[in-house]
């Protein structure tokens, strides 16, 4: 039996709506489940005590919060200058020849390499070869390598989106190349670059695999970056795998989702502002 075109169309529309509802339902299931079971644990005591660690699952998340802040700050401190510099280099100085094409290809490929492969590299180089042993710094160095390709690509795209006329105008007024980049190109590309940084923050907060093999995962409060530590995501993983404290794991999940929602909101706000700005100027 052949269905008539209008009937087929009705069925197809139904399938489209169903697929969209599935996506929303999946999101809502995750968020409602995590919040419903996890939010009750969250309180001052949960935020202000260290986890006990090991198989117990008791305690709060204070040292994991500190670990997360350490990781985010250190990763950015290393990856942001290098990545933005490399992005400026590729967009403004490098030109287009066989070498830069290979470089772009390497960057593009590394952006898709699984984080655990970066973890292998980081473990072998930072933890073993450079003898840092398991510590926050080794984790941050590994994570910096992981977010570097994304920062480079996003920066390069943001700079390339600045209209050529801006540069020509500035050069025609007698500015040097660097003055043009510093005072004309970078300000125009800034929202795009800031977006790159915020994406990197988000990645650092949610990343687990490459930190699992480099940070050590101690539950104790880290004092210096050379201490063994854990992030919130790692803490969640240890709770889920080694203990029965699922409510605490879910409460940690609540914290992670809140952080990600805030980061998403900032990115959306910035990129909408950027759109307005670019449209206003072109």
């Amino acid at each position: 039996m052949r269905l008539s075109p209008p009937v087929t169309q009705k069925m197809a529309w139904a399938a489209c709506w169903a697929a969209a509802f599935f996506a929303i339902a999946a999101l809502l299931t995750i968020i409602i489940y995590v919040f419903a079971r996890g939010v009750g644990e969250i309180g001052w005591a949960f935020l202000s005590t260290d986890p006990i660690g090991g198989l117990s699952g008791q305690g709060g998340i204070r040292s994991a919060i500190v670990g997360t802040i350490y990781i985010v700050v250190l990763t950015l401190a290393m990856a942001a200058p290098l990545g933005i510099g490399a992005g400026i280099y590729l967009a403004e100085y490098a030109g287009d020849n066989w070498f830069t094409r290979i470089v772009r290809w390497v960057i593009e490929t590394l952006a898709g390499v699984p984080s655990i492969v970066f973890g292998l590299f980081g473990f072998a180089l930072f933890v073993i070869a450079l003898n840092l042993s398991f510590c926050i710094l080794a984790g941050a160095l590994t994570l910096a390598c992981l977010v570097l390709p994304t920062i480079i690509r996003t920066t390069e795209e943001a700079i390339k989106a600045v209209p050529q006329g801006h540069r020509e105008g500035s050069l025609a007024l007698g500015a040097t190349k660097w003055q043009t980049i510093r005072h004309v190109v970078l300000p125009a590309a800034m929202p795009g670059i800031v977006t790159a940084i915020i994406l990197a923050i988000g990645r650092s907060v949610e990343e687990t695999a490459c930190l699992y093999v480099t940070m050590g995962g101690s539950a104790n409060m880290p004092i210096t970056p050379l201490d063994n530590g854990r992030t919130l995501s790692l803490h969640l993983f240890y709770l889920a795998m080694n203990t029965n404290a699922m409510e605490k794991a879910l409460a940690t999940g609540v914290m992670l989702i809140i952080i990600i929602v805030i980061i998403n909101a900032i990115t959306r706000w910035l990129s909408s502002r950027w759109m307005i700005r670019m449209q206003g100027r072109v």
């Binding site: 075109p5 169309q9 529309w13 299931t29 898709g112 492969v117 292998l120 999940g253």
Partner: protein, 288 residues
């Protein structure tokens, strides 16, 4: 005046050097990662033999006997099952967003999909562990299984498939659509017979990118897949992925075990490299 100009020139070239150093060191770091992984993995290939390594079914650290076939099968099994579910869902969702959805619905679905990208993989793993695994154990087995992992992955790769497919459906020239509608085709006939074939390369690229994301996922897989070394047969069997083996074993590996894990990393790199190249070619074709 001359002095000022020299200062300007000095600062110009100094900053150029700084930028150059940043650019060069990033590139060196990135190349180092690839070279390092290859260097540490090669001894396993020469000592065990490349073919024997990827086709060996036993992984026994005590006997120094390393074959990663069960990990490869685990990774591919989970990825394939996840794609079977996420590709139809993702493509229909993309059609919905590009062509069907009323504006208000689009404004709900888009942010929802964006949020799905941001949720940390350990949260997916945790929800899978607490919600899916007990349900799946009712079907037989322990519940830690390929099926649980595939369902978790389905949701995780959905955003990639949706956004890349939607872009490619949107980039189909308007005239195709108008021509088809003018010939009296219904809206759906136009989408199905004209727009989807025109967007084919882009949709395939979306699938390939989703595949890359699925093969690379680590922590969520460890949490729900059971991590057994046997080759899985039924979707209810536990298994292990390549990524999972790396994460679980690298910290205590020495000698040949160490090299074998890096070699497994190399195999993973080859997979990703192949998938990325395919996606690049496909996307290039769409742009033409």
């Amino acid at each position: 005046m001359i002095k000022i100009r020299n200062m300007r020139q000095f600062s110009d070239s100094a900053w150029k050097q700084v930028i150059l150093v940043c650019g060069a060191s990033s590139i060196v770091i990135l190349l180092l990662i690839i070279i390092f992984t290859l260097r540490e993995g090669l001894p396993a290939f020469t000592e065990i033999g490349f073919f024997k390594f990827i086709s060996g079914t036993t992984w026994k650290v005590a006997n120094d006997d390393y074959g990663i076939l069960s990990f490869i099968v685990g990774s591919i099994y989970v990825t394939a099952l996840a794609l079977v579910m996420s590709v139809p869902l993702g493509v229909f969702c993309a059609i919905f967003l590009a062509e069907v959805a009323p504006n208000w619905m689009r404004q709900i679905v888009r942010p929802a999909v964006e949020l799905l990208v941001g949720i940390p993989s350990v949260v997916y793993g945790l929800v899978g562990l607490l919600l899916l695994v007990p349900q799946i154990s009712k079907l037989g087995g322990s519940g830690d299984s390929i099926l649980a992992a595939a369902i978790v992955l389905t949701v995780m790769v959905l955003p990639t498939i949706i956004s890349v497919s939607e872009d490619s459906i949107r980039s189909v020239p308007r005239v195709y659509k108008e021509g088809s509608l003018a010939l009296g085709a219904t809206q759906w006939q136009t989408i199905w017979h004209v727009m989807l074939p025109a967007a084919r390369s882009g949709i395939l690229a979306a699938v390939v990118l989703g595949m890359g994301r699925a093969i690379g996922e680590t922590m969520a897989m460890i949490m729900v897949i059971g991590n057994s070394i046997k080759i899985p047969v039924s979707p209810l069997d536990p298994a292990r992925t390549m990524t999972g083996s790396l994460a679980l074993e690298i910290n205590y590996a020495t000698g040949l075990h160490w090299n074998a894990l890096f070699a497994c990393g190399v195999v993973l790199l080859i997979f990703i490299l192949a998938l990325n190249s395919i996606a690049m070619v496909l996307r290039g074709r769409t742009q033409q």
